[in-house]
Amino acid sequence: MMRELRQFTSDGLTRFRDFLNELKQDPSREIPRDLLEDPDLTRSVTGSGRLQIEERALHTRLEAGEYLNQVLGGLADPLSGPELWAWLTLLFFDSVCPPEENGLRKPAAEARYIPDQSGFRRYRHALQGPFEIYRAFRDNPDAAMLLLWGPVSRQDEIWEQITSRPVLVQAKPLLEAATLLYFDRDRGIPLRGAASRGPGSVRRFGAIVMQLDRTWDLDSMDARRIIDLLPAEFDRYRRRLHDRFS
């Protein structure tokens, strides 16, 4: 179903926030879809004209990032405030916060549904995060599959570890290196152990790369060279990569 793209007013945002709080108390609460077109609580979003958006299922972050970039790509500043992203969350609420087998929803922290405007915590938003990652990697989304593979309804440890360090996403070869190291393309999921706290994990990758970034111009290197700079604790993943391509 196609709808006009809208965003909440400040009153609309408050109403949506109220709904999220009520949902925590009553997980069976119905989604207030009538808010989406309420003229007192929403207003049109215009780019070069009125924009349309399809109410559909968004299964993965890749799908969400790609579709939202198609729809919002022409806006001058789609990240300027939380009103648009909160409205989109309500529109795609069945994907962002799907009911469990018993029919009840289990909402996460508010920042997953209404972007937290403070600093880099905006990446926690279920749709804005994938939108931004996809936008940054639109020329080669494969390089960001370590982040884009999962469902929009869930953010795992790997997502948290990487997106909490924007440098890892800003420098494209870095996320490409992490995807090469930790993503199993055959199975379409990260390798076992990548999300752990142990040696060679994504957590350690983030910490080590932050140190390397102080000394090396990592943007000018390709992903393989960055992987070569990593210390011995990453050998397990490095060997696998070597075996795969040799």
């Binding site: 500043d77 931004e132 943007d219």
Partner: protein
Amino acid sequence: MKRRFNYTGRQKLRHEDVVICLQQDGAGVFCQMDLRLDRYHFPVDAMLCVEAYRNFYKERHEFGRIGSLRRPIEFQLKNFPGTTAVRFRVKVVEPGGTGRILAHADGLVPRTPTEQQRAGLCLLPVRYSADLDGELWRLNWDNGEGPVLLEINAGVPDPESVVHRPEFRAAVFPEVLRQILRRAYEQGGQEDEEETWPSHWLRFAEEGLGVPPPPESAEEYEVEEWINEAVRKFCEKNSLLKKYSAAVAGERGEEQP
């Protein structure tokens, strides 16, 4: 205070040496960078790059060897989702493809053209000195090699407030500008591609005040006229006389116009 050791030998570019001015219009987002590297002594074939970033986005611009930079350094942001909260990182990278960073500045906040104009006097660093004897201020030329400094006598009460007082600004800044432009013109720099203090000030006169310096062959009276015009524009733009009058009226308890 947390102390850190720098084992990398990497230098920190001072933020006052890297000024980025950002302007957005219907045609796009345009940046102009004023970069002063004369104090750092990098190899001329070190590479310069600038990264604009915000959240997950980064746009990188490479400008090649610092010894052959074309001035002014200008670039356009093409893939940024708006300009709110955009920051810049500048890197000087070792030549030869090693990728080692020789120097960097991070978290640079761009200025709008208006802010850039207002910040004109940042060209003149201020130092508080105990060696001025009976003088309140003095221009320090550092033997003509370094950037000029405005020295303020550290012995007066609240020395840091001196340069912010309208009375001081109105009385001293025109004369400071007059002296600096005279010496900048004499030392030259408008055709000089190197970043030197005279070139900064001659550019300030031309771009900040709209008064281009006369040619090298100009007669003395033409140079004098150019300096007078630049000083007049400077006083006008900064409303020095008006602010002085308001401050004096305020001290007397008179109603300000």
